[in-house]
């Protein structure tokens, strides 16, 4: 077994997961705002931020879809060792990880049901870089408006139209995390 599989997890899981979660939670509560998230050293092509998100939220109770280049032996074995999450297809995934172009049509992911809108996929999208320019965001968690470098506009608008159903997005890049819940209006 490759030694890299065994390393790169949280060295102090309870403490590092708590800090990482707070970054993810603040990001989800304040759409478009970028927060630092650290603690994980996952194998490429996973970014440290995406690795930390997966370590914080995934375990044997969740399923993960690895899109495109993410679906490689290094990521699969690392994820299996550190989280125990099962790797599945997009139609039944609790989480999906990958580059925006690899994640494919959003319609292939579950958006929840009208009685249980929480039963939807959370997409962890790897971005080459992210900053506070680009699409304008408004809605819960945003005082007036916010700007964020979304990889697309139309898909996120369509997702918002489904509210209260829909997908939620976590953006990762290097050591940074941001998020876009379904409630955010994009223009």
């Amino acid at each position: 077994m490759d030694a890299q599989v065994l390393t790169g997890g949280f060295s102090d899981p309870a403490i590092q997961a708590a800090s990482a979660f707070r970054a993810v939670m603040e990001a989800m509560a304040r759409p478009g705002t970028i927060f630092p998230i650290t603690g994980a050293v996952p194998p490429a092509p996973l970014s440290p931020a995406a690795g930390a998100v997966l370590l914080t939220l995934c375990d044997a109770d969740t399923s993960v879809y690895l899109a495109g280049a993410m679906d490689c032996k290094a990521v699969r074995t690392w994820l299996a060792f550190h989280t125990g999450a099962s790797v599945v297809g997009p139609a039944v995934a609790d989480f999906a990880v990958g580059a925006w172009d690899d994640l494919g049509a959003l319609s292939q992911y579950p958006v929840g049901t009208s009685e249980y809108p929480d039963r939807s996929t959370t997409l962890v999208i790897e971005l080459a870089e992210m900053n506070a320019t680009g699409a304008t965001l408004a809605g819960p968690g945003i005082q007036t408006t916010a700007q964020f470098s979304l990889p697309d506009v139309k898909s996120f608008q369509a997702n918002n139209q489904l509210f209260p159903l829909g997908l939620d997005f976590i953006f990762t890049s290097g050591d940074d995390v941001a998020a876009l819940p379904r409630s955010t209006q994009v223009s």
Partner: protein
């Protein structure tokens, strides 16, 4: 006393925390929607804040400063025991000062002092379902939420008006979140309802026995239900605080002798203490020692 190292950080095991954390994220993404979660048994009885404690355990970091209030007070049994619980199991700093806290767990009040970004308010919720007393079946209330069928709630408020002449619901007053979900703000007095919307802090609601978590992100719209001809009114006892003289705070009514003499004091003890430390003196307090004048005659003189 048990040492921190005997427990996992903040008591809960990591798998449980991940499950709660996933529910919190979905709650934030769908403001006002009640996310089911696998509530654990906690070392305290249901009704003592098991939901709030689990949410707090899932969000706390070692560097947090934690405050607990029970009906506004820092020094009641529930607040003291939960504060001690996290001092022991998480080894975190605790405080009674609202402005110094990063995580505030509350039972039935929102602090008077406005909260800021970076703070988290965790509510203990007994009955998360606002429609529960109108429709006992969970299968039905879930359907009503999915269809946005909230007519029954307006009928209830209307019956209040037809019976009492005004909307008599004075606590757990329902709000509509972002024009979609009707939400129970937990049994806070309706005086606190205007603070729910557009708050800078994150608000998380945990119901342990009922196994539900819901949330209000910052700057979220939360409107108290009302009628055009009977608009919502945040009410409080029409008195100033007897100890600090505040006229803008929510008051507790305290009977202080066998003759039924009453005094009204701030329910938010930190707010009241802060004002008294700043030199404000109420009609029933003496400067410095806070000694209470108790006779009816003295009350009448000061009134």
């Amino acid at each position: 006393m048990t040492q921190t190292s005997d427990y996992n950080f903040a008591y809960l095991d990591e798998q449980t925390k991940r499950m709660i954390r996933r529910a919190i994220l979905k709650g934030l993404a769908i403001p006002g929607y009640q996310v089911p979660f696998a509530s654990r048994e906690m070392p305290m009885p249901y009704g003592w804040g098991t939901g709030g404690v689990q949410v707090s355990a899932a969000v706390l970091r070692p560097e947090d400063t934690f405050k607990v209030i029970d009906q506004g007070a820092d020094d009641t049994t529930n607040a003291v025991s939960i504060r001690t619980f996290f001092e022991r199991t998480a080894g975190i700093e605790t405080t009674t000062t609202t402005g110094d806290a990063t995580v505030i767990q509350t039972r039935h009040r929102i602090p008077e002092e406005p909260l800021s970004e970076g703070q988290i308010l965790v509510y203990q919720v007994p009955i998360p379902e606002p429609l529960r007393f109108l429709e006992p079946r969970e299968s039905e209330t879930r359907k009503m939420h999915s269809l946005e069928e909230y007519g029954l709630m307006h009928v209830k408020l209307y019956e209040d008006i037809s019976r009492h002449g005004h909307i008599a619901t004075s606590y757990a007053y329902p709000v509509k979140v972002e024009g979609r979900y009707v939400m129970d703000p937990s049994p806070i007095p309706k005086f606190d309802n205007p603070k729910l919307g557009d708050m800078a802090a994150i608000q998380l609601f945990g119901a342990g026995r009922e196994q539900r978590i819901y949330a209000l992100p910052p700057y979220t719209n939360a409107v108290s239900l009302d009628f055009e001809d009977h608009p919502f009114e945040a009410s409080k006892a029409d008195h100033p605080c007897g100890l600090c003289g505040a006229e803008d705070s929510y008051l507790d009514e305290v009977i202080i002798d066998d003759d039924g003499t009453r005094m009204y004091v701030c329910s938010d003890t930190d707010y009241c203490e802060g004002r008294r430390a700043a030199g404000f003196v109420g009609a029933m307090a003496q400067a410095g020692d806070g000694e209470i004048l108790t006779t009816q005659r003295e009350l009448e003189i000061t009134a």
